[in-house]
Amino acid sequence: MPSDSLTVGDVLRRRARTRGEHPLLVCDAERLSYVEADRRSAQLARGLIALGAGKGTHVGLLYPNSAAWIVGVLAAARIGAVVIPFSTFATAPEITAQLVDSDTEILLAAASFRAHDYRERLTGIEAPLLRHVLIDSEPGHRAESWRLEALEHDVDESDPLAIVYTSGSTSAPKGVVHTHFSVLGHQRVLNEIRGLAADDKLFCNSPFFWIGGIAFAVLATLLAGATLVCSNAVDAGETLDLLEAEKPTMTNGFVAGIAHLAGHPSLPDRDLSSMRRGNLYPIMAPEVRPADPELRHTMLGMTEAGSVITISEDESDQPEHRRGSFGRPCPGFETKVADGELCIRGPYVMQRYYKRSREECFDDDGWFHTGDLVRTDADGFVYFLGRRGAMIKTAGANVAPAEVERAIAKVTGGSVAHVLGLPDPERGQLVAAVVALEDGAEFDEAAVREQLKAELSSYKIPKRFAAVARSEIPVLSSGKVDLAALQKVFDA
């Protein structure tokens, strides 16, 4: 096996050697160093081998962001087993469906997390191929260490590493198969672009079980030899304490997920000056926060692409004509726009959806149709217009919800709006917008409507508006907005 081989096991061994006691993870009070990660995952791996696991065994993982999650992923990956992350939000029927679809044979789970009692939720669950469920415990026996070593050397870059489920906002969740190379090769390129290096500390609020967690946070950090900082604290003050103490240098994740931090009364007194790069602007050093987030490049990504497809190394404010840019395609992706839809191919794209042939996932020429409608400008920057199915068709014209949402954000100084199509007997669909209000805020529909005239063609301006408290916006267990439920706001 060449020394620069891109398998998780090889990267882990190299990092344990070069980074030693340096922390790989700081999660609230918990710390996991590189040598600890190596030692603990080797121990668990030997237990898994004793259960009969090896190359190709499907190992499910149901843990919140934690050292246990990382140890589980490393243990499975180093023996060539395939990791299947489960969402901590998942209900019993959702867990069962994923266990069955993914052919999970061994499930490693936490007993509980926050209000979720997994021990209870997993009681009586059955799936045809499920042989072992280990709740906050390790197998009772461990195989000899030579077996672990031999199996590790047998793992290949082209072996599947994980089946990551899409969150399925519009259809049933699909298991996306990625290899060691498709994930690590991709993250190696992305680390270069985002400048994630060994002396960095990355604060991330993405759940590890989604692609932005397992790939763009956990494995990217491992590859860089850096430190990942995360928090499960319910009290925002504790998370802010952690950030002040640990001094992350970079941030990544969902801005919506740090609203409670950004809105915390102690924020103005906090020293968060260490966080200078990334995209969680509201909690970053004040002098690096953008005046207008729409003038910074954001990123476009998806599970099928193994996280990020378009990105920019330039983190500065962009000129007005580049408003809303998502950056340029990451090297390694071949891209084209067909009928407005972004299509991708190349070594970092998934192998296929689990239980579907490649022919069912890609077109004849090997392109994956992302479902994302985009346009590109003369400089090659990509602009997201909306999801293919979400396009609103009103009186023969197409309206991209994302475009309208951005315009509303601009004229209201940052309000989050969700734009959707309502059935309409005359026009086919009507453009409608639900604006999420912060506590105590008010919404002046007439004023917004007037200002939008300067931003949008008249057919794109919502015919109907509704204002709802942010906490009242219906959300799916995936964290995405439940558009079907949102539509009911207009039923009254």
Binding site: G56, V100, P347
Partner: protein
């Protein structure tokens, strides 16, 4: 159409319950017996820890039990890794490693090979990290558990088999096929191979190669036909088997058919059940076709058997004689310039690239991008041209082509041209120190041949080094009957006429 082994076996057991699915010299197994015995065997495999995705090696000569083991494993989604009975110990070790075989089923002894003894020093050592169990077929048991929920988890996209190519150069190539692609590939060739539910097919090809597993076992299952096979074909026993089992279709090797034909009179076997589509030598003269009129089926392990052909009982149009027929439905064939990779027009020789739902899913330890072009074609290394009607003419391996003063020479193209000369019985062409060399079986002179060749070939393709021989006995051949190009070249260097 059922597109997993399990669904197929269930459907066939319902349709053809009592019909024999496979017959060897010792035993026979009906479709319903196949269903029942493999359920029980599969249940025991599950009890022993074998499950979906487990890779299980099988070393066994052709017999009824080979089929049972293969079906039992693949019904529950385990991956069958058929291994050649001809493998020497280091080769066996290499293939077990490449495919990460986790359980091995091997006969104790076959034709002097003692496979398990050969592996004694490697089992349970880092030499075979994945291997957990070794069983002999006699040790396999029956289980009681219901396997329905487990078989229902298997989908057409799941891996069915890892087949090693017989190619001898380079590291062993374990070709990965799914239930869906393998069954679709075999199904696409059934009509051309004249196999239907009434067929009683004799096939001596070893099951561990695609010609035996796809061309025999899966063909019979898909057509609802009966497969007749034997461990070691010998003319006398084979003739008796053909007669006893009323075999309708003989798809063995041509030289085997000829040997059988020579002996059939003295053995007195009645082969009147044989139908057209069988190898010619065994058919009565009235049913034989003219040379070249029938397609030479063409395929490879990566395409899971033939992907190109023409009904075996029908003459092709005159213009297509000597061709391999047309690509089967579902197979996309593209001929490209070997240097640039760009498609070439009809009539031009180039490399065959293949794409479509019948093709391999991958090769062990190789990434998808290493194997396929960005637009999904598999470069085969075979040379051919398509004519205007879409018939494909084979021109050898691309390893055989060579350049003379910068221009590409395809030995098979030159050979075919030389064979059209009246005095020439056969011709073999290869590169000799940067020139075109030809060994020709002919009653003629080099001068005459060179003159005739100039009328048929562009100047740079006309051989400049010649060697005339009187019979095929002078042609160096390897054990499989293939011409030994290295020795051919030596002959030309030593005694050729420039």
């Amino acid at each position: 159409m059922p597109d997993t082994i399990d669904k197929l076996v269930r459907v066939r057991a319902e349709q053809h319950g009592d019909k024999p699915m496979v017959i060897d010299t010792e035993s026979r197994l009906s479709y319903s017996e196949l269903d029942e015995t493999t359920r029980a065997m599969a249940a025991a495999f599950v009890d022993a820890g074998v499950g979906k995705g487990s890779r299980v090696g099988l070393i066994m000569p052709n017999c009824v039990q080979w089929v049972q083991i293969a079906v039992a494993l693949t019904r529950i989604g385990a991956v069958l890794v058929p291994l050649s009975t001809l493998l020497k110990p280091p080769e066996l070790l290499a293939q077990l490693r490449v495919a990460s075989v986790q359980a091995l089923i091997a006969v104790e002894e076959f034709r002097g090979h003692r496979y398990v003894d050969d592996l004694a020093g490697a089992v349970d050592t880092p030499k075979l990290p994945a291997l957990q169990n070794v069983w002999t077929p006699a040790q396999l048991t029956s289980g009681e558990r219901n396997i329905d929920a487990i078989t229902a988890a298997v989908t057409p996209s799941d891996t069915l088999v890892i087949m090693f190519t017989s190619g001898s150069s380079g590291p062993p190539k374990g070709v990965i096929h799914s239930h869906g692609n393998a069954l679709a590939a075999v199904r696409s060739g059934l009509t051309a191979r004249c196999i239907d539910a009434d067929t009683r097919l004799y096939l001596p090809m070893p099951f561990f190669w695609v010609g035996g597993f796809g061309g025999g076992v899966l063909s019979a299952l898909l057509a609802g036909a009966t497969l007749v096979t034997e461990e070691i074909p010998r003319p006398e026993t084979t003739l008796r088997l053909l007669e006893r089992e009323l075999v309708t279709l003989f798809r063995g090797w041509p030289d085997q058919a000829e040997a059988l034909a020579r002996q059939s009179a003295s053995v007195g076997a009645d082969l009147s059940a044989l139908r057209p589509g069988s190898l010619e030598a065994l058919l009565p003269p009235g049913l034989r076709a003219e040379p070249g009129a029938r397609a030479k089926l063409f395929g490879m392990t990566e395409s899971f058997g033939p992907y190109c052909g023409y009904p075996a009982d029908t003459d092709m149009p005159r213009s297509a004689w000597g061709s391999c027929g047309k690509p089967f439905d579902g197979m996309q064939v593209r001929i490209v310039d070997p240097d640039t990779g760009r498609p070439v027009p009809a009539g031009t020789i180039g490399m065959i690239q293949l794409r479509g739902p019948h093709m391999l899913r991958g090769i062990c330890r190789r990434g998808h991008e290493e194997l396929f072009t960005p637009d999904g074609f598999y470069p085969t290394g075979d040379l051919a041209h398509l004519d205007d009607d879409g018939f494909m003419f084979y021109h050898g391996r691309s390893d055989d082509m060579f350049k003379v003063s910068g221009a590409t020479v395809y030995p098979s193209e030159v050979e075919q041209a030389l064979r059209t000369i009246d005095a020439v019985e056969n011709a073999f062409v290869t590169e000799v120190s940067g020139a075109v060399g030809a060994v020709v079986i002919a009653d003629s002179s080099v001068e005459e041949l060179r003159g005739a060749a100039r009328k048929r070939l562009s100047a740079f393709k006309v051989p400049t080094v010649w060697l005339l021989v009187s019979s095929d006995d002078d042609i160096p051949r390897g054990t499989t009957g293939k011409v030994d190009v290295r020795r051919l070249r030596e002959m030309l260097v030593k005694t050729g006429d420039s």
